[in-house]
Structure formats: structure tokens, C-alpha cells
Amino acid sequence: MKPSKISEKLLLLRLKNKDPEAFAQIYDLYVTPIYRFIYFKVASRQDAEDLTSEAFLKIWQYIKETEDEIGNLRALLYRTARNLVIDSYRQKAKREFVQDQEVLEAVKDERQQSLLNKIDSHFEIKSIEGILRQLKDEYREVIILRFVEDLSITEIAGVLDKSKGSVRVILHRALKVTRELLSKNGKQFN
């Protein structure tokens, strides 16, 4: 359940004052949405679990150290989770193709390919989850944030560091591609 702005501010204030209870409350409130968000970005539940716990630890450290005012805790959590996923992919890529710059540039495609192969074996391709996993990262991300996590366009723009207009455009395209993939797989929605 989404907390009110005031209670979120109060939680942040307590967190800033190093209150572990406040951290526990934030964890209880956001662990499932953050897990779900990460889950759609990685290949396995195990990876999602590891990155989720890491995201919460990072948040604790960040809030403790930063002097900046935090406007939106929810957006900050998603942004942290997103950056962690990106970092984990970079680290994996580095491990696999050390010091080869040219190959590193092609990592994204290779990674996506291997992810898709794993997905094929794990998910029924015709299910909505399977369809979403076939989308490119950017499209899947906005769909999940908007419809699964119920974030507003402004919040999504904050998480993805994009303008509201471009988030709307990406969302529109993402839905279009999803519909196309669904009809290609013979699934129709009325």
C-alpha cells in the first residue's frame, strides 16, 4: 500500500536520524514492489532476491550519508534498484569478456540473447509475463512501473531520468509492441 506523503516524509526523517525501526517499516512497505521491479529485469528469482536486499542496504547507506533533500522516496528506491541491475550486468559482462573493448560494446545484445534463451526455458512464451520479457528493456520497464507498480508518469520520469513527454511516448510504443506480440502469439484481448 502506498503511504501518504506526510507519513513518507516522517519515515524519511526518522531514517535520516538512523532509526532502524523506520528502515524496517520502509522495507515492509516496498520490498514486494522493488522485488517485482527487479524480477522483470533479471533472469532468475535468485538474482532478483539478491539485488533486492542489496538495494535496501544501499538506500540505508545513501539516506544516512546524503545531505540532499529527498523528494520522493518511492522514486529513489526504484532508481537505486535500476542502477543496481545495470551495475550487475556490467560486472557480469566484465567477468565474461575481460579487457576486450569491442566485445564489451556488443555485450548488451549477447546479454539480451542469453536472457531470452533462459526465458524461453522458464516461461511460457504466450503468457503475459513471457510477452513482457520479450520486450526491450525500456518498454518493459515503463509498463511495469506504470501498470504493475502504479507509478505516475512524473514518478516514472524521475526514476528513468527522462522527460514526462518521452515517458508517455515510450509507454504508448510499449503497449503497441505488446499488443502486436500478443496477436502474433494468437492471444487476443477484448
Binding site: 506523503k5 536520524n17 520490498v31 514486494t32 517485482r36 535496501f56 509475463e129
Partner: protein, 294 residues
């Protein structure tokens, strides 16, 4: 389809959840970790709560109000600028804004006839401005001359646009020739007459201004305005000529129709040889027809 698709996506919320045992375990691990790294806990003071209230107040009340005030300032500022531009005279920094607004207004009018009428109205405004400039006291003659030059140039632009429109109307009338129906012709005549009378009014007002200028002993300025009078007179004349041409064509067309009617009645008569034989006609009529043939 869209709604059911979104509903289906939203259902993922129930389907994808972390394992409860993992959730509980991670919670404990994280709390232990942060407690170990942060042994002392700072208690919240009154100042902290005050800061929080101030922050909420700033974000939820002050910021929207500031944004609203800024929007109102921008809106009022632009309205005032437009209003001020409306009363500006040549030489003022807002005068180009006024001209640009007029041009935009004219560009937004789709009907060419209405646009020409609008241009005449703008020209009338230029005449009113001329009146103000002439009456303005304490302006040095050179500055006044410059202002009148700018104004007359704008007036000429407006009049040239009207003239162009009249030439276009004239051309289209010639090209389409007899195919143009009476309604279009009437409309063109009406338009040409309106433009002509408006241009005449303009000439009259300009003439009055020229007299005023001569009283102010400014010969150069008088020449400039006289040129403008000439171009307006030309416009009025071409509008009158257009009206006349269209009327003449309409008269010709009427005559042609009368002739056509006569020819049609001839065609209804039988051929001459048949008429001579008197075939198909009563005896008295066949006689008269043979007389005509002779």
C-alpha cells in the same frame, strides 16, 4: 483490448511476489547489519519535527503558489504587452509587435476577401496613427519624418496586398470566363465595390492629413504621404475597374442568353425544303415560311 491488456498486466501484481521466508530472513539480516554499523540512535527533537512541517508546507503549499504566481505574472505581462503594443506608434519598441500581431491576425483569416478587407482596416489604423503623430507636440521634425516614413511604408504594404488581391480576382475572372456563375460574379462585384469605397474613404482621410502636414511646413513628409495617397487611389481605381469589367461581362452573358433563346426557337422550325413543300405545317404558315426563305 487496451483495457483488458492492462488488466492482465496488473494481474501480475498478485502473481509475482517474493517468497515470504526470504522476505522475513532478509528483513532480519538487513536490520542486524544496519544495527551493527549504526550503534547509536539519535532521538528526534522538536526542531526535526518543525523542519519536517516546514518542508511539507514548502512542497505542498508554497511551491504550487509560487508556480501559480509566476504563471499569472507571465500571463498578465504578455496581456499588458499586447495591450500596450495596440496603442503604440512608429518609433516605439512595441510597434513591430503590433505589426507582427496584425500580420498574424491576417494570416489566420482563410478567406482571401476577408483578408483584403482586414488589410484595408489596418491601413485605416495607419491613417489614425498618422493623425496622432502629426498632432504630437514637442517631437523634432526629423524624428517625426522618420515615424511617418515607417508608417507610410506599412500603409503601402497593406494597400499593395489589397491591390494584389484585386489583380488575382481580375485574373481568375478572366481565366474562368463564362464558366463563372452569376453568384460568383455578383460576389466579386460586391467585394470590388466594398474595397473601392473603403479605399476612397482612406484617400479622403489621407488628404485631410496632407493638409495638416502642409500647415506644419514639412514639404518632404507631405510628399511621402502624397505617394501613399496615390497608391491608395490606384487601388480604389483598380477595384472600380474590376467591378466594371465583371458587370460588362455579365451584360454580355445576358445578351448571349437572349440570342441563344432566339436561336433555339429557330431550331424548332422544320428545315427549309420541308417548309417549301408545306409538309407538316398548316397552309397559311407554309406560305409565310417560304416567303422568309426567299
Amino acid at each position: 483490448m487496451e483495457n483488458s491488456l492492462i488488466k492482465e498486466i496488473k494481474n501480475l501484481r498478485k502473481e509475482i511476489c517474493p517468497r515470504p521466508e526470504w522476505k522475513a530472513l532478509t528483513r532480519d539480516v538487513l536490520l542486524k547489519e544496519i544495527s551493527a554499523s549504526q550503534p547509536e540512535r539519535v532521538k528526534l527533537g522538536i526542531g526535526d519535527y518543525f523542519n519536517l512541517v516546514a518542508q511539507i508546507f514548502r512542497q505542498n503549499l508554497v511551491e504550487p503558489v509560487v508556480v501559480m504566481i509566476l504563471m499569472m505574472v507571465v500571463f498578465l505581462g504578455s496581456s499588458l504587452t499586447i495591450n500596450a503594443a495596440f496603442y503604440s506608434l512608429p518609433g516605439s519598441s512595441l510597434y513591430p509587435v503590433k505589426i507582427a500581431l496584425e500580420n498574424t491576425h491576417a494570416a489566420l483569416v482563410t478567406d482571401a476577401n476577408q483578408r483584403a478587407e482586414l488589410k484595408i482596416e489596418f491601413a485605416q489604423k495607419r491613417v489614425a496613427e498618422l493623425d496622432k503623430i502629426i498632432d504630437e507636440p514637442g517631437v523634432n521634425p526629423q524624428e517625426k519624418k522618420r515615424q511617418i516614413e515607417t508608417l507610410v511604408a506599412e500603409l503601402k504594404n497593406n494597400v499593395t496586398d489589397v491591390n494584389n488581391h484585386i489583380s488575382k480576382m481580375n485574373q481568375s475572372m478572366k481565366q474562368s470566363d463564362s464558366n463563372v456563375n452569376m453568384e460568383d460574379k455578383e460576389r466579386t462585384v460586391k467585394m470590388a465595390l466594398t474595397l473601392s469605397s473603403k479605399a476612397q474613404e482612406l484617400v479622403k482621410s489621407l488628404d485631410t492629413k496632407v493638409e495638416k502636414i502642409s500647415a506644419a511646413d514639412n514639404v518632404e513628409v507631405k510628399d511621402i504621404v502624397s505617394q501613399a495617397v496615390q497608391s491608395v487611389q490606384d487601388t480604389s481605381l483598380s477595384a472600380q475597374q474590376l467591378a466594371q469589367t465583371v458587370n460588362e461581362e455579365a451584360d454580355k452573358a445576358d445578351e448571349g442568353t437572349v440570342k441563344g433563346v432566339t436561336n433555339d426557337s429557330d431550331a424548332s422550325l422544320p428545315p427549309a425544303d420541308q417548309a417549301q413543300d408545306g409538309a407538316g405545317l398548316p397552309a397559311d404558315q407554309s406560305e409565310s415560311t417560304s416567303d422568309i426563305n426567299k
